[in-house]
Symmetry: C2
Subunit: 408 residues, 2 copies
């Protein structure tokens, strides 16, 4: 009886539900929890670098002083106070935005969900870097949008390839809704879009009538202090900006935002209210107090230094252990490096061997909608300490050598 009822529910689901399949990435994260396992998989921020006692006291104070508001329903747009502070945070990357253009969401993931819901009919095309954020692919699939990847080199997406991709899609009669990009310390590649190309990318998209969705959770986590101007600064009318406190403060609060032109932002609010009524007021007030009462810029420097050291340890271990013919990116910020193995070496197969050897990572195919990335993989260096990263890379190199048929 149970079986029958369940089967009939599945049969009655919407067409889009066909895309709601368990991702192989989920299994990787489950494996990460096994004792003795070194995880190069999850992009978790290193929260032990936060002044937790002070934050705990601050959070208690928020509820003591403003509990009747913090625990109540709030504005569907988010609090005005936080929207103003968000504008100050964005100034660091050159963005000049008004609070009226800010929609606060339960994390920037939700910002992407809302933008996609607002713009994408089934069969519409989203252009994305190849590789791109696995969680973005889940959003696009959930609205039956097709994804066209544009290759990156060490300077980010290649403008000529972007232009050619747009032209080819249009020639094929496709409707392109937006170019989704993570221009800074891209997840998963660690690559940043060069200054020169930013203008080119913005110009191409403007000329072709393709909006840009700029996802920038890592932009402030630069190892050398170099902050490139956001794409939004170059064309505020055509770039929807997704921001997040998950990597510069705390993901457990689920607080992010979208910046968009007025007509778009108004509809995003309606879509947001349908999804969650309002963002968590407690979370918003905690972020407000964090930005106003703590040295949040100094904390970004602290985080960046931790990640820089871990990145350095990871790259050193890669240089020491990886077999010939393997190469990887050299990030200058963020959480990730992207490793390319010799052609034909399948990282889904390497993963099984690696797990036996006590290390997990996310295979490259997870970051492509089109089956790409099979000989690639992502290493997250944000969470594990440097010695574990080094040991993890060593184990990984052995698993790769085994897959390549080389003695370890």
């Amino acid at each position: 009886m149970t079986m029958t009822a369940e089967l009939s529910h599945v049969a009655r689901m919407a067409d889009r539900a066909a895309g709601f399949q368990p991702s192989p990435v989920r299994a990787v994260f489950d494996v990460s929890m096994q004792p003795g396992m070194i995880s190069l998989a999850g992009g978790n921020p290193y929260l032990a670098a936060l002044p937790m006692e002070k934050i705990a006291a601050m959070v208690g104070d928020v509820v003591a002083a403003r509990g009747l508001d913090a625990l109540q329903y709030g504005s569907g747009a988010g609090t005005e106070e936080l929207a103003e502070l968000i504008c100050r945070v964005m100034e660091l990357e050159g963005i000049s935005a008004s609070p009226e253009n800010v929609q606060i969401t339960a994390g920037s993931q939700m910002g992407l969900e809302l933008v996609t819901k607002l713009f994408c009919n089934p069969g519409d095309v989203v252009i994305a870097e190849g590789p791109t954020y696995v969680g973005a692919l889940g959003v696009f699939e959930g609205f039956q949008a097709e994804v066209a990847h544009v290759a990156m080199d060490e300077d980010g997406v290649v403008p000529e390839t972007l232009q050619a991709t747009i032209s080819a899609l249009k020639a094929a009669g496709k409707t392109i809704k937006f170019f989704y990009t993570i221009p800074n310390f891209n997840n998963p590649s660690g690559i940043s879009l060069s200054l020169e190309r930013r203008q080119q990318v913005v110009d191409i998209c403007r000329a072709e009538g393709v909006a840009i969705v700029e996802d920038n959770p890592y932009g402030l986590l630069s190892f050398d202090g170099d902050l490139k101007p956001a794409l939004h600064t170059l064309d505020p009318d055509n770039v929807f900006y997704l921001g997040s406190f998950s990597k510069i403060f705390a993901p457990g609060l689920r607080t992010g935002w979208v910046v968009a032109p007025k007509e778009v932002r108004g509809r995003l609010q309606i879509a947001s209210e349908a999804t969650t009524i309002c963002p968590s007021v407690l979370s918003q007030m905690v972020v407000e107090q964090y930005i106003t009462g703590f040295d949040w810029r100094g904390q970004i420097d602290t985080f960046s230094a931790v990640y820089a050291a871990r990145c350095h340890a990871t790259l050193a271990a890669l240089a020491e252990h990886m077999p010939e013919g393997t190469h990887w990116t050299t990030p200058t910020g963020g959480f990730f490096t992207w490793v390319t193995l010799p052609e034909g070496c399948d990282t889904d197969q390497v993963l099984a061997v690696a797990i036996e050897a006590g290390v997990v990572f996310v295979p490259g195919s997870a970051f492509y909608a089109d089956g790409g990335g099979r000989n690639q993989l992502r290493i997250a260096f944000s969470y594990a300490p440097a010695d574990q990263l080094a040991e993890g890379v060593k184990r990984l190199a052995e698993a790769i050598k085994a897959a390549l048929g080389q003695a370890s």
Copy 2:
């Protein structure tokens, strides 16, 4: 240039975006904030009844003791600890569920969004009570589902009408995806489904292959202690249950849940992860500590007593002031009563007069997808104190009399 860019964004939006129009309800809530205005509009819980100092200390303790987890990413399903506590909460209404069937969400609004996303193609039909929750109508519209209303009498939805509606829709070739119902202290009507009809409704839906989405935020807020068994208890395989801590604890945390059969719950998790990655871990841990460390059942009794007294004051004022030919429901729990004016008296027009007189409410048409409810309105008695409710009803009665052309 700005104008042009904005216009072109609107033109490029998805078909579903046509439904993302500002609701007239929004304007009502804005008006509520005016000085001197008495609001009978918003269904906000009365949080001043909470032991706020103790809660503040508890929230601080959560971060001090478990901050590295509370501020980090968590499971996409929600925490196992909270899922188990949710099962204990649901036992009060007879539900026997397993934590594996629980998907925690950023409020039960998000549960409804996910269920609708999972099941509804454009043109599919959702059956709902008439009137029903305005926020549910926004969800259905966002996925281009059509809504068919089923009338209620004082015992809730009429089973024969439900059966006739289903038969007529099927005869018209429509695909019905589920019956959305608020069986306890319905928002906006205050009506509860009688015990006898619960079995009939469940039987009809099972026989017709129509799932039930049971939305139950108010069920525990009974004025007389009478808790009817949830529809879920009668057919767990065919009833998806939406629960919420917003009315028994605090909406600002945005913590709710869905209970569903395994195959449905698994896909809800995938949809949930695409929307918010995970529910706020801080919020979940705060709720965990509230349920384990506070007299949460005693607090429900406290809340219920407050709402019962306010309901009593509201009904007494209605009896004293309302013109002849007006009638209203007599709730035995929850936040709302539903007022029906003489035929032809348009509550959208009454609203303008009422605002001049210093009182706002939500006109009945907001709670129908089909233009119904024009001579009806909702009064929320949950938030304003009894003397304000009485004065608000008096002002409202004068506005109605003015609209009816009677001397006040």
